[in-house]
C-alpha cells in the first residue's frame, strides 16, 4: 500500500483508527503523499461541505477535521465536546485532526479567541447537518417520517425506541456529499451532555507522563538536525564564512548559505548546536535601530501613513475646550515578546519536488501559501501539518522555523529538523510593537464626562501574514508590509459619552518586525482607556464602579460589573485607609467588552506597593467573565488564570531591549517573567449563558489586567503609572514627583 494511492473510500474507512493528538498517522502520511503526487484531493476541505469537517467510520468513530488547532489551550477537548454533543455520540468516539492543509478546511488562523466562537460553531453546524442527514437516511430506509426519529449514543432510533441503527451501519465509511446547512437545527442546549461541563482535558495524561508528542519531539526517518546562525545585527550582510572553523565537528553535513541566511546541518542535534556555536562568519555593521532610550520620541516622529477613525460621536473638538475641567495624559506599552517556553521548531521534507512541513504554526493554511511563495512552488505541492508545540500566544517563530526547515531540506535533499535556540526565539521572533497613546478628556462641573479624545500611535497593517525572516535573510519572495494584528480593536470605548473621537495613527514603520502577541492591541489599548477612565473617576470624585456603570447602556455589561463589585467585596477606594507605613495596599477595577461586541470581562486587582523599593506585588485578582455559552468551565477558568498571570508578568516586568543593531533581551535573565513566589491568587466567577452564542475566552481577560494594576497602584500610593512595564524605578520616580 505504501505507494498506491488510497481511494477516498479506503481513507475514510480507515481514518477512524487514528489516534487523537496525532495528525500525522502513518496511513495519512502515505495517503497524503500519494494524493499530493497525483494532484488529487484526498477529501473535501471547502468550508461549505460536511465532508470537510466530519467523517464517520464503519465502527461509528467520528473523525472531526478542524482548521483551528489546540495551542495548549484545551480547544481539542472543547471541540470534541461540541461534536460529541451535536452528533449525540460518546466523547471517546470522536477523533480530532487539526490544521493539516490536505485534510482540514481553512477556518482561518487560530488567533483572536475565535477557535470556539467561529471554528467550533462551523463544526457544530456541520455536525447538525450530518445528524439531520443521518435521520433522513434512516427515515428513507424504514419508510417513516423523519419527525418520528431521533438520535442517541451514535445511532438513529424511532422515538418509540422500536428500531435502531448505528451511524456506522448507516453511513460508515461513506461520504456525506452534502452541503453544510447553516439552517440545520441545533440541539436544545438542555440536551447537551458534555457542553457546559468541566470535562477533563484529553491531552493531560499524556503530557504529564512524557507520552505526548510535541512538535519538538517529532521525528521522521532519515532526518538531519539544523541550527540557524543569526546575523550579528538585524540588517547585517554576510561577508564571509570560514567553513574550516567547523570541519572538525563530527557528523557535520553541510554549511548552508543563501544570501544572509546561514545555517549548519548535522547528523546529530548536538553536532548542529556545536557547529552553529563554532562557525566563524563575518558580517557587515548595521545599526538601523533607534536609540532605545528615546523609543517614544522615535515612535512619535515616525511617519503616519493613515488615520483610522475608530469612533466619532458628537463634536469632540468643540466640546473639549469648553469643558469645566480638562485632563490629558500619555500612556505607553513597551515592545513585548511571546515568550513560549519551548522555542520554535519545525521539520520539513522534500519528496519528488513536493514539500511537507510539520510545525506548530497557528495558521498552516497561510503558512502553506508563504512556503510556496518563498520556494516558488505551486501551492498544491506544499502540505503544512500542525503538530502542537509549547503554548504560542500569537504569531511567534514557528512559521519562520518552518521556513528555515523547508529551505534547508531543499538544500540538503533530506528531511531536516530545525530547533530554534532560546536566543533565536527571544531575538528573532516577531514582536508586539510599541504602543503610544495620547488621551484627553473633559468633565463638566458636576463631574460628568463631556468629551473624550484618544490618539493611538501604532504600526500600519492588520492580521495578514508576517514576512518570513528566512525569506528576508535569503532574499527570497516575501511579503513587504507589516502584519501586527488587528491592533486597533478596543481603541473605541464601551462608554456612551456625548462626544468621543478615537483615532489610530498608523505608522509607516516600527523598530522590530511586528506581529500579534496575545490580546494584540486590545491589551495595550484597554490599558490606556481603563486607566485614564480611572483618572477621570478620581477627578470626578466618583467610585470607579459607579462611574463606569453610569456610562454603560448595555445590560450584560452592567450585570457583569455589579457581579464583580459583589464578588470582589468592593468597598470603594481604600487609599485613605492605608496611608503611612512602607507597604501600602490598594485596589483597582478595569472592564472590557472585547472588541465592543463580545466577551465581557471585569477584574479587581489588589496590590501592595513598597514605597521604599518601588516594588509592586500583585496579591489578588478577582475576575468575572461572561463569554456566552461556556463549553468547558474549567477550561475557561484555566485560560483566565493564565491570562491574569501572563499579563501581570507583562505589566510588572517585561520589555524587549535592544541596541542600535539587535535585540539584547535574548534569554530569561534579560527578559524576566513572573516566577512562583510572585504570583497572585486568582478568584473567578463565570456567568454562563447556555442559550447564547459561545464567545472567545483565550484572550479577553488579559485586556483588563494592566489597567486594574495601574488603578490599584494609584489607589495605594496616589501616583499614576502610565508606562508598562511598571518597573520599581518608574514607581520610585512617580512617587518622587508628587
Amino acid at each position: 500500500m505504501a505507494n498506491a494511492r488510497l481511494s477516498r473510500r479506503d481513507f475514510l474507512k480507515t481514518s477512524g483508527s487514528l489516534v487523537v493528538a496525532f495528525s500525522f498517522g502513518p496511513l495519512l502520511e502515505t495517503a497524503g503523499r500519494a494524493a499530493m503526487a497525483d494532484g488529487a484531493a484526498l477529501k473535501a476541505v471547502s468550508l461549505d461541505q460536511v465532508d470537510s469537517f466530519l467523517s464517520i467510520g464503519v465502527d461509528g468513530t467520528v473523525t472531526c477535521y478542524s482548521g483551528k488547532v489546540d495551542l495548549g489551550t484545551g480547544v481539542r477537548t472543547a471541540l470534541t465536546q461540541i461534536v460529541a454533543d451535536e452528533l449525540t455520540v460518546a466523547l471517546d468516539k470522536v477523533r480530532l485532526i487539526e490544521g493539516d492543509t490536505l485534510l482540514t478546511p481553512d477556518q482561518g488562523p487560530t488567533y483572536g479567541s475565535l477557535a470556539i466562537q467561529v471554528g467550533g460553531m462551523q463544526i457544530r453546524q456541520a455536525a447538525a447537518t450530518a445528524r439531520a442527514a443521518l435521520m433522513s437516511e434512516a427515515a428513507k430506509r424504514w419508510q417513516v417520517a423523519p419527525g418520528e426519529l431521533t438520535t442517541a449514543d451514535g445511532a438513529v432510533r424511532t422515538k418509540s425506541g422500536a428500531r435502531r441503527i448505528s451511524f456506522g451501519e448507516l453511513v460508515g465509511g461513506k461520504e456525506f456529499s452534502l452541503s453544510l446547512d447553516t439552517g440545520a437545527p441545533l440541539l436544545d442546549p438542555a440536551q447537551y451532555r458534555f457542553v457546559g461541563r468541566s470535562i477533563s482535558r484529553l491531552d493531560i495524561p499524556g503530557k504529564v507522563s512524557g507520552e505526548f508528542t510535541y512538535m519538538q519531539d517529532f521525528r521522521v526517518p532519515g532526518m538531519l538536525h539544523a541550527r540557524v546562525v543569526r546575523p550579528l545585527a538585524i540588517g547585517a550582510q554576510l561577508a564571509s564564512v570560514d567553513e574550516s572553523s567547523v570541519s572538525g565537528i563530527p557528523g557535520l553535513v553541510k554549511v548552508v548559505r543563501d544570501g544572509n541566511f546561514l545555517a549548519v546541518v548535522a547528523r546529530t542535534e548536538w553536532g548542529a548546536i556545536r557547529a552553529a556555536q563554532q562557525l566563524k562568519a563575518s558580517w557587515s555593521d548595521w545599526s538601523g535601530l533607534p536609540d532605545e532610550s528615546r523609543l517614544w520620541e522615535h515612535v512619535r516622529a515616525t511617519r503616519i501613513v493613515k488615520n483610522d477613525i475608530t469612533s466619532n460621536v458628537g463634536r469632540t473638538e468643540q466640546a473639549l475646550p469648553r469643558a469645566a475641567k480638562r485632563l490629558s495624559a500619555t500612556y505607553d506599552f513597551a515592545i513585548h515578546t511571546h515568550g513560549s517556553i519551548g522555542p520554535s521548531c519545525a521539520v520539513a521534507e522534500f519528496r519528488d519536488g513536493k514539500l511537507t512541513s510539520w510545525s506548530a504554526s497557528q495558521a498552516t493554511h497561510n503558512l502553506r501559501k508563504q512556503l510556496a511563495s518563498m520556494l516558488s512552488l505551486p501551492e498544491d505541492q506544499v502540505r503544512a501539518i500542525y503538530v502542537e508545540g509549547a503554548g504560542c500566544y500569537g504569531r511567534n517563530g514557528h512559521e519562520d522555523a518552518a521556513a528555515d526547515a523547508a529551505l534547508l531540506a531543499r538544500a540538503v535533499g533530506q528531511p531536516v529538523r530545525v530547533q530554534w535556540m532560546r536566543a533565536d526565539e527571544h531575538g528573532w521572533d516577531p514582536k508586539g510593537p510599541p504602543t503610544l497613546i495620547d488621551l484627553e478628556a473633559g468633565l463638566d462641573t458636576a463631574g460628568r464626562v463631556v468629551a473624550w479624545h484618544s490618539q493611538f500611535y501604532v504600526p500600519a497593517g492588520a492580521a495578514g501574514t508576517v514576512p518570513l525572516v528566512t525569506a528576508q535573510l535569503a532574499s527570497l519572495p516575501h511579503e513587504t508590509g507589516m502584519s501586527p494584528g488587528n491592533i486597533i480593536n478596543d481603541t473605541a470605548l464601551p462608554y456612551a459619552f456625548p462626544n468621543v473621537l478615537t483615532v489610530a495613527h498608523r505608522l509607516a514603520d516600527t523598530p522590530l518586525r511586528p506581529s500579534w502577541i496575545r490580546t494584540p492591541g486590545r491589551m495595550q489599548n484597554t490599558f490606556a482607556n481603563e486607566a485614564f477612565l480611572d483618572e477621570l473617576a478620581i477627578a470626578a470624585k466618583t467610585d470607579p464602579f459607579e462611574f463606569r456603570v453610569r456610562y454603560l447602556d448595555d445590560p450584560r455589561g452592567i450585570e457583569l460589573l455589579k457581579r464583580l463589585q459583589a464578588f470582589a467585596k468592593w468597598q470603594g477606594r481604600t487609599s485613605s485607609k492605608h496611608s503611612g507605613g512602607d507597604t501600602v495596599t490598594g485596589r483597582g477595577v478595569a472592564y472590557v467588552k472585547y472588541e465592543l461586541y463580545r466577551t465581557y470581562v471585569g477584574a479587581v486587582a489588589t496590590v501592595e506597593v513598597n514605597r521604599t523599593t518601588g516594588a509592586i506585588r500583585v496579591k489578588h485578582f478577582a475576575v468575572v467573565q461572561d463569554c456566552g455559552q461556556i463549553i468547558n468551565p474549567d477550561g475557561v477558568k484555566n485560560q483566565i488564570e493564565g491570562n491574569v498571570l501572563q499579563t501581570v508578568s507583562r505589566t510588572l516586568k517585561e520589555q524587549v531591549t535592544f541596541d542600535r543593531s539587535r535585540v539584547t533581551s535574548v534569554d530569561w535573565a534579560s527578559y524576566p517573567i513572573l516566577t512562583f513566589p510572585e504570583i497572585p491568587d486568582v478568584d473567578i466567577a463565570l456567568i454562563d449563558r447556555p442559550t447564547e452564542k459561545p464567545w472567545g475566552a483565550g484572550e479577553p481577560s488579559a485586556a483588563v489586567v494592566p489597567a486594574a494594576i495601574s488603578n490599584a497602584v494609584c489607589d495605594a500610593v496616589g501616583v499614576r503609572l502610565r508606562s508598562v512595564p511598571f518597573l520599581p524605578q518608574k514607581v520610585l520616580a512617580a512617587l518622587k514627583s508628587v
Binding site: 504529564v208 507522563s209 553536532g271 513566589p677
Partner: protein, 153 residues
C-alpha cells in the same frame, strides 16, 4: 565513544562523540525520551529537569561525563498515563496543564521537594519552583497539584 547510562532503571548503551554533550540530548535524541524538554539550554527555565541519583538537575547543561554511574530518572520513570505516579495523578486531578511544555520540570522539581520535604507549606512549594518558568500561567494549578500530592502521599 560508548557510554552506558542507567535511565529509569535500565542500562542503555549510547554512541556519542562528545562526552561534554549535555545529558538532555542523550536522553531525547539517543533514547527518544520525551519527558525532558528543551526550553532554554541555559539552566534558566527548568523544562529539561531530570533526576540524577535522586537529585533534580538541569539536563540541558549537565555534561554526560558528569553522570558517570549515576542513576538517571526522567518523567517517564515516574509513571505512565495508564499508571501515573501520585504526583502525575495530582496534576491530572488539578488539570494543572495548559500547553504542558513546562510540566516535566514542574513535576521533577516537585518530586525532589516532596522526597526531602513530604509536607511542604505553600511558600516552600513556591520557593522550590522559583526557578521553573511557566509562560501559560498555570502556576496556581501547579501549586495546588503539588499540595494535593503531598496530601495523598
Amino acid at each position: 565513544m560508548k557510554v552506558t547510562l542507567t535511565v529509569n532503571g535500565r542500562a542503555a548503551d549510547l554512541d556519542v562523540d562528545d562526552p561534554d554533550m549535555p545529558l538532555l540530548y542523550a536522553l531525547r535524541d539517543g533514547l527518544a525520551l520525551r519527558g525532558p524538554r528543551f526550553g532554554c539550554g541555559l539552566a534558566q527555565c527548568g523544562a529539561c529537569t531530570v533526576h540524577v541519583d535522586g537529585k533534580a538537575v538541569r539536563s540541558c547543561v549537565y555534561p554526560l561525563r558528569s553522570v558517570g554511574k549515576g542513576k538517571v530518572t526522567t518523567l517517564e520513570g515516574l509513571g505512565t498515563s495508564a499508571h501515573p505516579h501520585p504526583l502525575q495523578q495530582a496534576f491530572i486531578d488539578e488539570q494543572a496543564v495548559q500547553c504542558g511544555y513546562c510540566i516535566n520540570g514542574m513535576i521533577m522539581q516537585a518530586k525532589a521537594l516532596l522526597d526531602s520535604t513530604p509536607h511542604p507549606t505553600e511558600g516552600e512549594i513556591k520557593d522550590a519552583l522559583a526557578r521553573n518558568l511557566c509562560r501559560c500561567g498555570t502556576h496556581l494549578r501547579i501549586v495546588r497539584a503539588v499540595k494535593r500530592a503531598a496530601r495523598v502521599a
